[in-house]
Assembly symmetry: D3
């Protein structure tokens, strides 16, 4: 029995609310248990230098945490004058994950800025960010198609992410913060809706793990991704 | 008739939702029309260097805007590596306003970090921040009193803020963004619940204003502050 | 009787010396009692990005304090690698004040850099900066008109600034440092030569103030501004 | 046949030279083909704040590239004033990998600074850094044991790393730069000498990959790690 | 005949005005022709970490230029967020020069902050800074002796500096800006009042110079230093 | 007898190894005793703003120390977020020295980036950098001439550098670290192969020095430069 009463292969309650921002082209507020992330996609009519005159677009992501998203309070990166290494890692991961399912030629010379801001944190903020960001991105593309700016949808598939880990010898799906800090092994899987890998990241926090562990965690992850993909589709249909 | 149908001395619809953050000691989500600010108060058991061993506490504020809170998207200050001058000004203003109604001796050697994060902007974000932050601060003090940490409530009164301005020659209460950009004169009043001034800031955006204008704007502001003070009291009673 | 023997509505001795910089287009050294600020205006033949091809110019200000302008010595902002929030606030205030009396179309696509550097501080450095900066700006415009670069003078009026405050219950004009640190209320008025408001900034340092206080302070300020406007005119005539 | 004539499961020629720094406690220059990384381990008698008085030590890593390690030349991070996101990611990875095989209690309250500086880059610099850094770390621990500072060796095992990837549909071991830029999938495995996982990082650069791909890459990686572990042992015996 | 009518071995008109700052412990405004530098010395009752509990003091210098000290205007280092390489070089030079004539044991555990701020530049600002800074330093030490804080004067001699150079084949003393930009060789000599070298810095700007040139320039420098030493003594006597 | 057994006018053993970098256009690893510096020259087909459309090129240098080049370990400048004053000084010195022997018109609109990275430090790193950088630069120019990019060699002569100093009253050539820290006087001479001065920098570390000392040190320096010039020529012939 887990700390919050779930079975090992059970996700926390997930809700994905869309249309939560007046100014962004697409937006989604994803909640996975007590973790809440506001994801927005804003489209700009220009591209970074290295893509000028290539006819291709770009998707980039930024990630932030509100200071009170965690206890103790986290000092604001703006005030500290630098983006932390952990933040860099996460925003690069989100960007790569979204680019993996975007056809940059269909997007054309535009940049999509995806912002994932953690309103409240309880573990799994980077994976929730990816899952929510996909929905915001899809909505932004829908909006541009409706406006006639895009002729075809630039998405080649869907993408979602989930954390898995080994806690006290047992493989668990979707770790909450209490589980995360106790985990011996912590993995994040970013996968397409049809079960392929976009990113696989595993870290032995306190002891190295075996090939059998890796296999068990990959199985669990796919269980979670299937459900999240379903939730994403439902949220997009409702929107 | 104003752009959104209000009369000159009418506030936008105001809602103040409390208890919106699991980790902060006090929190409030204030909405004034389409402007939405999440305000949290987190208490830390230490004080800045200059207050050590004085028995007195400190209230400090930080202000931020989510990148998609406005269109066009606002680059993240963390990414730019520096806090903008405007942000500095606003967070200093919020901090001064809250300190004006806090008895630092009753607070004791503790620091309250007040964070005001603009989720969506439509004018008046700094005044909404102050009005919401007061509620978050009061709730944080209540929580500490219930825990027996504070013996007496450190607040000496309530504080709220509102913008007023002159648009096309007419004095208006609580400017929305469209009015704000067209304003000839823009003023912010921060006042206590019993009608005294904590901060008065007026700027002639396009033409200098007269003593009679100043008087008219001060009258309007007090109309708004009275209503906001009432909303704050109601929100605190509900909490 | 005040700490330096003045009556409540008396300015400190004011001198405005012009032509103090060989390289600037206009310059003034203003002394208000022991406060000394060197103000220069330098004109550059380009404008910020947002004004290109609009035919309009820009006036921007920067403010600094020499490290030994105060005791204890103030660390150099260049060495600390960042401009303090207070400095940002002041230079934005000076810039806005000067722009309020400048016709940007008559200036044409040029930028005026106004630098206010405090050589010695004894309270009221931001208001002295504005009063002196106006003189430097007017002289720079004169120089450009004499060179035939400007066809008409871009100034629409004069601007000056003064501090007022309440110390031990009494309203005082032009606070020196000792008065400033003891003030219950501190206000800065930036006004045109014909008595209109450009900026009004009031802060309750230790206790909120009433409408009657505000009225009394506004009266005092106008007394001071009238005299400063006279000194500015005299300095410009001498130049 | 690969671009440099290797078979798919073949490493590039590997040499590990030890004792290359007069000042570090342990050092190794690792070459994997044309990739050359200088790894040093320096021990300091203090620990970061969060470990004071815990009796436990810390291993931290920094990574850098000489500007001419690549063509075109890479601007120096010191000159740009900030460490790039990629560098942050790599140095965090190296640090975690080394900590996974270090018993911090046996190390005691000391910090080991591991520096990995890329002298010349041709793909796989982060994995070569880990493999070389382990040797430098082991040598530093040996030196401290010989001096009587450490009573027991703090290493719980060995660690090495290798890259694998899919290029034109074929799974390859130890990608050189030309292969890396053409790879559809790029993975890094950090493993202990007895075949357990410390870190697994896989990225679909151009197309998502299947579970079968993951299995094939994991097999290849273990082939490489076994050989690198052997080279590490030989280098340490020679030293 | 030089650009300003001087003979090759003639200094520009030099004036050293003392007591120009109310807050500093010692101050001097030095003018060498059109170059004007405000030098202040402020004493703090603490020392940098590396000198704690050694009984020894420290003299450190900072150098700055007001933006309008030169045409075109020089952007403020505080605004650019970093101290330029040239500034670093100059402030290190001033600090070393002053420390060369200070007995740190007689100073005791105190830090002297010497600030040299260029009000107007016309070549030779770093050498004028040293010459003026010595006077400010001596006055600060005098003040501390009068207050009974210092028992003996910590100065072991006087120090002054001058530039020399080769312009169109001719060796010249004390280059003004026009000469400086045309110089083939540019040297700065920092010397004690009794003719010994503290710093010698020579740079071939456009062509390497011979041993004979070096000798000629050293002769010229000593001519200038003798006169500056005399001016320093006179300024100190007047103070 | 010196600390390492040399006579006063003897250099440490010098080796200059060329062709040590695959990616740079020219490279040299210089060792002077235990001081080891990797020097590379990389050519870029553009020039800084101030040289555009002048037909002239630029040579610029950067200098760095690997963290473990010294004991105790030196924190990485990239991590500290700023280049130290000492580094600025050194890289400006190297750049000026190389530009003194380069004909910028023959180079054409190209920038040569010279990187000097200290692998191991034992005194004299800046002078070794210059001596080695000249070789890297010459090799890069050779390479460009062989490729037909340059029609004539842009070098107008050779340049080398050496340190000299006074230790316990005796003038010594090429100080090692132990001598450097004990030196009363420390000088660096940068000279052309035909004995002219490019840079002369002398500092009295603990006591001012006489004209006779200066003469003696200049003699010693020329002895060293002659030998280093010979080593440079030999290294270039071997390449």
């Amino acid at each position: 029995m887990r700390v919050d009463g779930r079975s090992p292969e059970q996700l926390r309650p997930v809700t994905i609310l869309t249309g939560v921002s007046k100014h962004a082209h697409g937006s989604a507020l994803i909640e996975m248990g007590e973790t809440k992330v506001l994801c927005t996609a804003t489209i700009e009519d220009s591209v970074p230098q290295f893509l000028r005159d290539t006819g291709r677009g770009w998707v980039t992501a930024e990630y932030g945490m509100l200071p009170a998203a965690s206890r103790p309070r986290i000092p604001r990166e703006a005030s500290r004058g630098r983006v932390a290494g952990r933040t860099h890692e996460i925003q690069r991961l989100i960007g790569r994950s979204l680019r993996a399912v975007t056809d940059m030629t269909l997007l054309g010379e535009r940049t999509v800025w995806v912002d994932c801001d953690v309103i409240q944190a309880d573990g799994g903020t980077r994976t929730a960010s990816i899952t929510g960001a996909y929905v915001a991105l899809a909505l932004a593309f829908d909006a541009l198609q409706r406006e006639g700016v895009l002729l075809a949808p630039p998405l080649t598939g869907s993408v979602a992410a989930v954390s898995v880990g080994i806690v006290q010898g047992e493989a668990l799906l979707d770790l909450c913060y209490a589980e995360d800090t106790a985990a011996e092994v912590d993995m994040n899987f970013v996968m397409t809706g049809d079960g392929k890998y976009v990113e696989v990241q595993g870290t032995a926090e306190s002891k190295p793990f075996t090939r059998a562990d890796l296999d068990r965690l990959a199985d669990l992850a796919w269980t979670g991704i299937r459900k999240l993909t379903h939730m994403q589709r439902k949220a997009l249909e409702r929107a």
